[in-house]
Amino acid sequence: MGSKEICRNELRIAVRQLSDRCLYSASKWVAEQLVGIELDPVKFTPSNTRFQRGSSSIRRRFSTNENTSTPIAGVSYVSTPVMEEDDIVDGDFYLLAKSYFDCHEYRRAAHVLRDQSGKKAIFLRCYALYLAGEKRKDEENLELEGPLGKSDAVNKELVSLERELSMLRKNGSIDPFGLYLYGLVLKEKGSEHLARNLLVESVNSYPWNWSAWSELQSLCTTIDILDSLPLNNHWMKDFFLAGAYQELRMHNESLAKYEYLQGTFSFSNYIQAQIAKAQYSLREFEQVEVIFEELLRNDPYRVEDMDMYSNVLYAKECFSALSFLAHRVFVTDKYRPESCCIIGNYYSLKGQHEKSVMYFRRALKLNKNCLSAWTLMGHEYVEMKNTPAAVDAYRRAVDINPCDYRAWYGLGQAYEIMGMPFYALHYFRKSVFLQPSDSRLWIAMAQCYETEQLHLLEEAIKCYRRAANSNDTEAIALHQLAKLHCELGGLEEAAFYYKKDLERMEAEERDGPNMVEALLFLATYSKDQKRFEEAEVYCTRLLDYTGPEKETAKSLLRGMRMAQSGFPSMSAEHFPP
């Protein structure tokens, strides 16, 4: 269909433009989406509603005169060939510079372009300088201090770049790419507000630069900021919003956006991975696994996001699959934080925590802001009973991203292990605040309240109730609720929860001591309530189990029969024949 066709055309040109400017990750992303568009558009006859937002083609086709901003983006796209012109003028130098750039010789590239005045050349020069500075900064970080400590190395090019770019902007001779770079520089310098404005300006005039979008996304730390951005209504905005929602932990919204986008880009690996990410956050591990399996079939050398897959495999304890994955990424590229995390996960699953810590450390060496590595390392330290180290690792994770509920949870756990349940409560509170839908967090908090030292059962009940309401997969909450109510003398509530627990266990066909306990309680309870038939049912069910409960059930049954038949027999005694 037209809209797909338009997207395709836009993307095709964008790939070329982006890679021409050496914005490789952006061009990679755009190319991925290009291939992700469904090949056979005739198959589907999309309804109007499906394209209400985002796609400009429909509107243009129906020639409505609504003031949509999408066509404007199209216009700006049309104007891009102007930039192509100066390519012809200084083509030779540019080509040389680009070749140098491609060989990672950034300073050389910048040097070649020193006297060029075309917009494209200026951008490439600045970008090369920026990257040169970044490279040097990373190296310095390694040279000056271990990457685990804080370091004061800065990109030395930032000052001069900012000066030049601000001058260009004042002259008005800056293109969207320059704006992007300017935003990047400002973000690095810490003036986030200005950076946001520039990035918005950049994406509004050139929406296909995914790098600009993702920088913008990292600057949107609250939903208010996100809502206040004056963005044009281009279809790229949907990608951006989906990603931003995910960062803001609005997983369902994000999922909805991605599913909508999948209508157009149905083969996009990126969208698939993002959906997997959202599902992972919603703890739908089965689906995540399916998605990743498919992803790996299509794209067997992918390393990105694979650490999440490894987390899922870890959670499901798939030893061989995890080792297979680890081997695959190791062969593909062993010096990626993701690879190290995967290997770390594998060793952790194997119970070799020292080795696993070593790999997480390597991941952190490669990227010291690797959030999941800090958190996972914390988990390992907890396993190794080195709680102070665990606390430290978790705390660093929290300092990198204060919204990481796993790290808060880990901190709480560490303190709980040290026998400080009250102190741990603070951290659990933080984590449930960030992720109120996760039953495990509520259960952990409840268990904290339940400890012998605190013994705040009322609070524990409240937490368990939250846990039970938010899809408690392990079904701890219901059982505990019943038990606690029983302990506090609320037999009615206890019976209610035992019944619920029982229903659940029946539905999931689980069996075990909990079942016996529930049955026993319910039998006694309904007997005390004089509901003998109900009690009999429970007792008969109990007879299927071995152990002392069977005997208890038998005696209960006997007692009930006695009581039921007792009355007539008594009367018989009164009137002897």
Partner: protein
């Protein structure tokens, strides 16, 4: 940012060290004979040596001076050769353009050192002994350079280039000033500081020597204020890794610089150079925060801390200070956050650059302190339940880790908590949770639990030799004895005698024991000096030197002399100690106030206000001043009291507003009652009642007082039945919450109400009950006043009881005249006169002298108080006496005075009181 940031703990070659090496080379040039080239005399040469020695010793500072600062400092040597030195240094540094130059430089350096095998040294040759301080420094530099990788060398080279660049670019204008006359102000002030440092040096070295011998731990003081006295939490955090460096000697050549960005931030804009000074600065700020409470500038400090954190991320105490700062500004969320952050970081291992904490504490040994702190945080914010939870957990964890010190402190904190909240709502609090007190059985009352806990805590503190804690425990004990009426400790059973007592002797004993602290510290004061405090002293002097105000400048000229004399010499007694001792004086004042000796109470408050005002927290100081003003009001009349109040109000402008506010309301109420403005009195009463229930919780004492005053107001307005009802309710409340002292005075008030309502027979039992209360609680002054009331009651039953009344009055008179306030004295005088007058056997001409004397005194006193009602009565009696004596002229005079007072009483003017906003 000044200088170049350096990672502490590691010895790196830095541009600064390279310049030191170059200077060393000049100092000990191997080729020169006798007096080396640039120097004209030995003295100069030696001065350079001393200068270098000082510099090498301060090379562990976090920030190193920049080149131009170094050059400025080196001018101290004060010779003509300095220009040559500076030029030499700069040219040497700027000639380093390739890594090879650096290699050559350090190879040259090796020549400065005398080789081990050099053997014979010629007399007149200057050679650096490799084992001297300078020699070791040079060797360390060489070693560190040799350890550098090529990247490291490259870094050093670029750093040197930027180190030189600024000087080179500013060189041209600088040279214009080199004749010495054009030194700018900034430099001048630096010179002054330099002199100052030299002074401090000697002290510092001594102290360091002492500390080396003594301390393995660096006490880190956390002060926690409590309304009556500050229970000082002297938590000994185990030594920070930086302690290791103290052995290297810590004479810090350093000076303060105003930071460009923060120069507006009051006088906190100092930038500190050495690790110790930063620690010292932090400690000083800690003290300051505590002292000034919420009036401390939040943002200025926050800014400083932000800067510090950027500079030294491994300095976790910054988080702690942030915690304190937000604690005192009642920012719960941020306080909690920072507290957790501090302990998360400082307790881990990785944050410490691999240096393990000193022995004696295992790694997990700090978490109980975290609990202790969080307990106190909750306490501060008025969450007693959480506080108890945290503290019990702290007890448990410190038992687990066998950290007795922390346990002792935690127990003390629990005691403190109990004594603060126990009276109103703690019953059931402890029973609900698993706690060390719970196993004592729930049969014990909260007071008995508290008592047992206090004993336990004291015992622990004594066995652990935590002197401050012992002292503060003694204080808590004294407070307990003072405030709580108890049955004899050993008889809990139902059959035991129900006689209640207070034990002033115990109070006295505990107070004395707590004051012993100061003598302990006199003996070992040098041992207990903390690392930070010397830097603090230095800083304080700096403040003075620069003439910048220390935020909380004394505004009262009268007090200034006292305070400054205490300021002038650096006090060898740590602030926390003098604070504790001060608290004991304050408590003494309270005790005397209660037992009824006004002069002694006043004396103690005065001692506190003059000697300990420097280190006291503003809340405590306000309490002391409040006591003094109350004394003034009772003995010198309201005029004097209000004058004093005005100055005090200025002094504590925002600090402890409620305290001063309460005092003001009390005074105003008192005066309104005396003048007969019952409407105004009622209004003030209501305000007081409002103050008693702030957001954080109910202040029982204040609440009781408010309703007591309410009853008095009603009494003054002659609404007897209402007054009696209020007093009755008050009595019940006091009984319920164990406020026994208030019980006694309420009973007295009831007697008073019945007396005024003309129902003397009903009043007598109340007066007697009050009397027996006072007797068993040792409330001497109150007892005297109860006796007086009893006498008045008897008297009003008829003249036949006049003799009995007179004996009663005479028995109370010594106490009243010795310690009582104006009002009480006047009442006693009038009652005495009345007794004489109503006595049937009394004949005017013979004893008129006695009657007139006492009446005259009463009149004088009442006129000071402006107590119209009683004054009128006194003048009336006087007029009658004169009439009986036939002295008509005097009679007329007295009668006219009587009329004046009656008029004043009836003409309830609504004149706007200037003191009532």
């Amino acid at each position: 940012m000044a200088g170049i940031l350096k990672v502490p703990g590691a010895f790196d070659v830095t541009p600064h060290k390279v310049s030191l090496c170059i200077l060393l080379q000049v100092y000990a040039s191997p080729n020169q004979l006798f007096v080396p080239f640039p120097f004209s005399s030995f003295a100069q040469h030696n001065r350079l040596g001393l200068f270098l020695l000082a510099l090498t010793k301060s090379c562990d500072d976090i920030l190193e001076p920049k080149l131009h600062e170094l050059i400025n400092q080196s001018r101290e040597i004060g010779s003509s050769s300095i220009d040559w030195l500076a030029d030499h240094l700069i040219s040497r540094l700027s000639s380093l353009s390739s890594p090879d130059d650096l290699f050559n430089l350090f190879t040259e350096m090796r020549g400065v050192l005398a080789g081990q095998d050099a053997g014979i040294v010629e007399d007149d040759q200057i050679i650096l002994d490799p084992n001297s301080n300078l020699g070791i420094f040079l060797r360390r530099c060489i070693l560190a350079f040799n350890l550098l990788s090529f990247e490291g060398v490259c870094h050093l080279l670029t750093n040197i280039a930027s180190y030189c660049k600024e000087v080179l670019s500013s060189r041209a204008p600088h040279e214009a000033h080199l004749d010495g006359s054009g030194v700018n102000l900034m430099e001048a002030s630096e010179y002054e500081n330099m002199d100052l440092e030299n002074l401090v040096f000697e002290k510092v070295t001594e102290e360091i020597e002492a500390k080396k011998k003594a301390g393995e731990r660096i006490p880190f003081h956390l002060h926690v204020p409590t309304p009556i006295f500050g229970l000082v939490e002297d938590i000994e955090l185990s030594a920070k890794p930086t302690f290791k460096q103290s052995t290297k000697g810590k004479e810090a050549i350093s000076y303060a610089m105003t930071l460009d960005g923060s120069s507006g931030a009051v006088d906190h804009g100092f930038f500190l150079r050495s690790n110790w000074q930063i620690q010292g600065y932090l400690l000083e700020q800690t003290d300051a925060i505590e002292k000034h409470g919420s009036s401390f500038p939040l943002n200025a400090l926050e800014f400083m801390l932000g800067q510090l954190q950027k500079l030294a991320p491994e300095l976790h105490r910054v988080h702690f200070l942030r915690y304190l700062n937000s604690l005192y500004h009642d920012d719960y969320a941020s306080a909690l956050e920072n507290l957790h952050k501090y302990f998360d970081y400082s307790a881990g291992i990785e944050g410490f650059d691999g240096i393990p904490p000193s022995s004696g504490f295992n790694n997990s040994g700090r978490y109980e302190i975290a609990l202790l702190c969080s307990g106190m945080l909750h306490f501060h914010f008025g969450h007693p339940k959480q506080a108890v939870e945290a503290l019990t957990e702290a007890v448990r964890v410190s038992q687990q880790h066998s950290n007795d010190t922390c346990l002792a402190y935690t127990l003390a904190a629990i005691c403190n908590l109990l004594s603060e909240i126990g009276i109103s709502n703690a019953s059931g609090l402890l029973g609900s949770s698993y706690s060390p007190v719970a196993n004592m059985g729930t049969s014990l009352s909260i007071h008995q639990q508290l008592f047992v806990l206090l004993k336990e805590s004291l015992k622990r503190a004594e066995s652990l030799k935590l002197k401050r804690l012992v002292a503060s425990n003694h204080l808590a004990m004294a407070k307990f004895h003072l405030m709580h009426v108890q049955r004899p400790v050993l008889s809990f059973g139902p059959k035991a005698s129900m006689k209640l007592i207070t034990s002033p002797i115990n109070v006295c004993k505990e107070l004395r024991l707590s004051s012993n602290l100061i003598s302990d510290f006199d003996i070992e004061s040098s041992m207990m000096i903390t690392d930070g405090s010397l830097s603090t002293t230095w800083l304080k002097n700096l403040h003075r030197q620069r003439g910048s105000s220390v935020i909380f400048e004394e505004t009262e000229p009268g007090n200034r002399s006292n305070a400054s004399s205490f300021f002038s010499q650096p006090n060898s007694i740590p602030g926390s100690v003098s604070q504790l001792v001060g608290a004991s004086y304050l408590l003494r004042a309270t005790a005397w106030e209660m037992y009824g000796s006004a002069p002694l109470a006043r004396m103690n408050a005065l001692v506190y206000a003059t000697c300990f005002a420097d280190c006291a927290s503003s809340v405590d100081a306000a309490v002391a001043y409040g006591k003094l003003i109350q004394y003034l009001a009772a003995y010198k009349g309201y005029k004097a009291a209000f004058a004093a109040l005005k100055t005090v109000e200025e002094k504590f402008i925002s600090v402890s507003k409620s305290q001063i506010m309460v005092l003001k309301l009390q005074l105003l109420h008192e005066r309104a009652l005396h003048r007969g403005h019952s409407k105004l009195a009622q209004q003030i009463c209501d305000e007081l009642a409002v103050l008693s229930s702030p957001v954080t919780g109910v202040d029982m004492d204040l609440k009781a007082e408010a309703s007591f005053r309410h009853a008095r107001t009603l009494l003054a307005a002659k609404q007897f039945s209402e007054a009696a009802a209020v007093a009755h309710a008050l009595f019940c409340m006091c009984y319920k919450f164990n406020l026994r002292v208030q019980d006694a005075s309420t009973l007295l008030l009831l007697a008073e109400i019945h007396k005024k309502s003309g129902n003397a027979v009903l009043g007598i039992p109340y007066a007697l009950a009050s009397l027996s209360f006072c007797e068993s609680f040792n409330l001497d002054l109150l007892k005297a006043s109860a006796t007086l009331t009893l006498a008045e009651l008897w008297l009003s039953l008829g003249s036949i009881h006049a003799k009995r009344a007179l004996t009663l009055i005479h028995s109370a008179l010594p106490m009243i005249l010795g310690h009582g306030g104006l009002e009480l004295r006047a009442r006693a005088h009038i009652a005495e006169a009345k007794c004489h007058l109503s006595d049937a056997s009394f004949s005017v001409p013979e004893t008129s002298g006695v009657v007139l004397d006492s009446l005259r005194q009463a009149c004088d006193e009442l006129q000071i108080l402006e107590y119209h009602e009683l004054a009128a009565e006194a003048f009336y009696l006087m007029a009658i006496t004169f009439d009986k004596m036939g002295q008509l002229e005097e009679r007329e005079q007295a009668a006219s005075s009587f009329q004046k007072h009656i008029m004043a009483l009836e003409k309830v003017t609504d004149e706007e009181d200037p003191l009532l906003k």
